[in-house]
């Protein structure tokens, strides 16, 4: 087959767990428009960092933070000037039980729960954000014995969705319905001043350098079509 601009390529992409659902839709759109097929791997950025350092064949990283793309660029494993913020994540305190989480988050203070699921603050930005909310509310020490740590935001969702943790912090993108509202259980969205903004960056990795399709995907997250999908999942832009 002749290789040219029009030939279809496969692109290996590492995607932060919280961005799973929107990225699948964006990848579909991208493939329809360009013919290039993104192959998506989902997980925590810490794991991706370790894998990329060890030569994993990823060409782009859709991260959940800014630190990891930064670090990769410094290590010479990513192309610094391709980096930009594609979304700002939103944190939600959620329960499958209707009425358990009130509209002000007072449930955290009155302690009407046994387990509070939180992604490990050391590993996940959403976990760090949840920790910040608990500290700002002055309940961090009081809820210590009730915290169950998840490895990432997907597992935090799993703990809450299965009912094992009565409440827990998840990403809005995980529970938002097609109408842009949370349709199951009860939830509280902490105001933005309770935690630092979750700025999520995308970056082209060294493996994708000089590959037009990979760069096109990185920049595709800026297009109106992608931004509409990102917004529909509750992210800010």
């Amino acid at each position: 087959m002749p290789s040219g601009v029009a030939s279809a390529d496969e692109i290996q992409v590492a995607v932060a767990a919280n961005f799973t659902a929107p990225m699948q839709k964006i990848a579909e759109e991208f493939e329809r428009e360009t013919g290039h097929k993104p192959l998506l791997a989902f997980g925590t950025v810490g794991k991706f960092y370790a894998q990329i350092r060890s030569g994993a064949p990823f060409e782009a990283l859709v991260s959940s933070d800014q630190d990891t793309p930064d670090k990769l660029a410094r290590d010479g494993l990513a192309v610094a000037d391709t980096r930009y913020t594609y979304a700002i994540g939103k944190l939600v305190l959620w329960s499958v039980a209707p009425g358990l989480v009130d509209s002000k988050g007072d449930v955290l203070k009155n302690g009407a729960f046994q387990h509070l699921a939180l992604a490990n603050p050391k590993l996940a930005v959403y976990g760090a954000a949840g920790q910040e909310v608990l500290k700002k509310l002055g309940v961090w020490d009081a809820v210590q014995s009730k915290i169950v740590l998840a490895e990432n935001i997907t597992q935090s969702y799993q703990f809450v969705a299965s009912g094992n943790a009565e409440i827990g912090f998840v990403a809005l993108s995980q529970i938002i319905g097609p109408g842009g509202k949370i349709e199951k259980g009860s939830a509280w969205t902490p105001p933005a001043d309770l935690y630092p903004p979750i700025e999520q960056d995308v970056i082209l990795l060294s493996r994708g350098k000089g590959r037009a399709a990979a760069l096109a995907l990185v920049n595709y997250l800026k297009t109106d079509k992608a931004r509409a999908i990102i917004r529909a999942y509750g992210y800010q832009l």
């Binding site: 810490g46 370790a50 387990h115 740590l149 094992n164 943790a165």
Partner: protein
């Protein structure tokens, strides 16, 4: 150097493996005895259920345990009916999960040892008017002793190496469910490779020594 948290994880892991091994020897022996002796058609299905953890990915076991132990699952409903604490995110929970998960590693060596004894010593005991229980304790158990030692060592070592199931139902709680394997995973994910090396290297040496002991012993004694 390993920190206090790392030592807490090591201590918890040893505690878990000891309890699980003791429970499995108690529970596994009658199961192994029955499997070795029975002519029932149930032998196949029961043996298959016991062996399931050998082939199932830990994610499958962890996923179903999380659902079964949760408030909407059968086990979860049972514990709440009995007024007991729910099992996920507790030490008891990972003990039960580990017992299921390590079951074949204990039952199978014991079963093999029982089968190797054959009918004759027990028939001889019966002609001497030993009750079946008597024959079990004075003939079968001593003869199967090497199988028990193998079972205990592998059961212990396998429980120490457990990761996937505990990760899914444990909730990573210090002194309750944060085992060494989980702690290593956290260190790696947090890019703290120095601490990861201490624990991971320790696990490697420990596992090698256990297996070395097991295989050297086998060679000397010609065990099953």
């Amino acid at each position: 150097m390993p920190t206090a948290e790392d030592f807490a994880a090591i201590w918890l892991t040893l505690k878990l493996a000891t309890m699980v091994t003791a429970l499995l020897l108690l529970l596994g022996t009658p199961i192994a005895w029955w499997l070795a002796r029975t002519k029932s058609w149930l032998k196949g299905p029961v043996g298959a259920v016991v062996a399931l953890p050998l082939v199932l990915p830990p994610t499958v076991i962890g996923f179903y345990m999380l659902l079964a132990m949760g408030p909407y699952g059968p086990l979860g409903k049972l514990t709440s009916l009995l007024g007991l604490q729910a099992l996920p995110f507790t030490f008891q929970g990972i003990v039960i999960a580990s017992v299921c998960y390590s079951m074949p590693f204990v039952v199978q060596p014991i079963q093999n040892a029982f089968e190797a004894i054959g009918e004759r010593p027990l028939e001889a005991a019966a002609t001497l008017r030993a009750s079946p229980l008597d024959a079990f304790f004075t003939i079968a158990l001593p003869l199967a002793r090497p199988g028990f030692v193998t079972a205990a060592i592998i059961g212990f070592a396998h429980t120490i190496g457990e990761f996937g199931v505990v990760l899914m139902i444990g909730g990573n709680i210090p002194n309750k469910t944060r085992l060494v394997s989980v702690q290593i995973y956290d260190h790696v994910e947090a890019m703290d490779y120095t601490r990861a090396h201490w624990l991971a290297g320790g696990m490697l040496i420990f596992s090698f020594l256990v297996l070395l002991g097991l295989y050297t012993r086998r060679k000397e004694k010609g065990d099953v």
